[in-house]
Amino acid sequence: MLSREEVQHIAKLARLGLTEKEIGKFQKELSSILDYIEKLKEVDISKVQPTSHSITRALAKGGDTAAASSIEMENVTRDDIENDASLKLKIKNKKLLKLAPETKDGYLKVKSIMRALAKREDERSSSPTRAFAQQK
């Protein structure tokens, strides 16, 4: 069974807040799913190449179905110039920004990234009312 610490570690990696109760729930649930997945260990994969995508370029070009095993993706690029399409995207920008919870001067606004910095700021302002006003 997964330990409490393991569950907490995964949640931290996933940036997912958990309640105390959920830690125990995930310990049990994830462990039973992982036990089921253990079944994959029965398979001999020593000489097998991994598959990331199922459709190959060879196949897409009309090759033999049976010959295909892994996809060769082709990047889609465009010239970095202003044209009709990019102007349309500029109009879209406004629409996208409207969806953001907090914006300022046409940018997304985020909370403080560095803990220490935020703390120093707090100490300097010492008054809780002022800190609250900054939030707004």
């Binding site: 949640a11 807040g17 995508h53 879209k92 629409k95 403080s112």
Partner: protein
Amino acid sequence: MKGGKENKVLFDFKMKLTGLTITQAHQGLIKKEFSALELCKAYLDKIKEKDKEISAFLTINEDFALSQAKKIDDMILEGREIPVLAGIPCAIKDIILVEDLKCTAGSKILENYIAPYDATVIKKLKEKEAVILGKTNLDEFAMGSSTENSAFFSTKNPHDLTRVPGGSSGGSAAAVAANMCCYALGSDTGGSIRQPASFCGVVGLKPTYGRVSRYGLIAFASSLDQIGPITKTAEDAKIVFDVISGKDELDSTSVEKPKLQTTNYKLQTIKIGVPKEYFIKGMDPEVERVIKEAIKKYEEVGAKIEEISLPHTEYALPCYYIIAPSEASANLARYDGIKYGYSVSNIPTFQHSNELMDVYFQSREQGFGPEVRRRIMLGTYALSAGYYEAYYLRAKKVRTLIKEDFERAFKKVDVIFTPVSPTPAFKLGEKITDPLTMYLSDIFTVSVNLAGLPALSLPCGKVGKLPIGLQIIGKPFEEEKILAIGKILEVDELRSSSPFANARVKS
């Protein structure tokens, strides 16, 4: 009672309208038997009447649908030729973006998200003048097999309101089955089009990976996701598929259909493979009987039936439950409470915190439901340092073996027949408490996604009042073939058990 009689006539007329297939509705429109506005209103009335009990729709798009219908009527009046989908009312799974309409993905985290653009499939439908009635319910982020994981409400199966419609495209399948739309779009990552189509007695097509652009489809597992139609007949599925498919420069994994050498085939001489691994203990014996009867029908029209083996079948589900959650955990990292969607930074009680990390943790904690959190946790674990090789890499290798099973089988047979699901629609609440039991309802559908193949779910009979679906799996890019093969069964008498058999008008 003249008025009463007139109402009855009007009622019958509307009943007939909502029972039409795409082809029939199109014929009716161009022959001016009814207008696009009448057709649209008939569906909107049907939704008002039936959706109270079925709960298939999350958003109804009445004004847009009606104005679009009027536009089609003007085109017809002007004597212009209209595309087959013009004026035909449809519903869209609420994980596909329709510009300026809410798109929730069934999640609280996107509860107020207004789609800023059209998905490529929607752009294509709009080019053909489709009438979009609304957005349908689903399991949150398409993660589930019953639509009970929706953050908003559960959808009911139109054939039995105490049962689930399947999932994750449960709202789309239920809406088509209850004649609340003429056709719908769904998405299929591990069976999410086919299993609800099977449970609701409608046709569902999961296309070859890459055949339909995923641009504007909210991502769940990008190497498996595919958009497809849910319709009343195989013929309708082909009509919708032909419109939405094709390479798209906005989706680097989309591909052009290759020229196949084997376009000529006689349906009467096809070889059908039936994998022995798909008839296992634990399967409902009544489902097995219905499927075997359907297979027999094909034998009677001259098809050769051959038992085949797909030896890695039993590893498909564990393989899927590594790959899909891994990809999901990466895809769902974008919901961070910063760019869009639910954010604690808007919540007054949160104002005491001044840290970005808290925004991430708490927005995601409050915004995601239990199944989504479970899969994010599972995927993050499988991808984390020290476990990547044991889980994710191993699953990718097993995926190769599953794919090779099909490649070997398709050297011997043209198509593969299996059940879609080991059981008919189950009761609401029956499996929701045990995630692993719920996962097992995908046991016959996930292999197809891992191998990237096209597959059709076709109603082939009933157990009691509950429909059963036959799964027809094809070689890559052979959607046309599996749809043509499906059509054989549709014209068969078995079709008379379909809910649409009585609703059809004479053509």
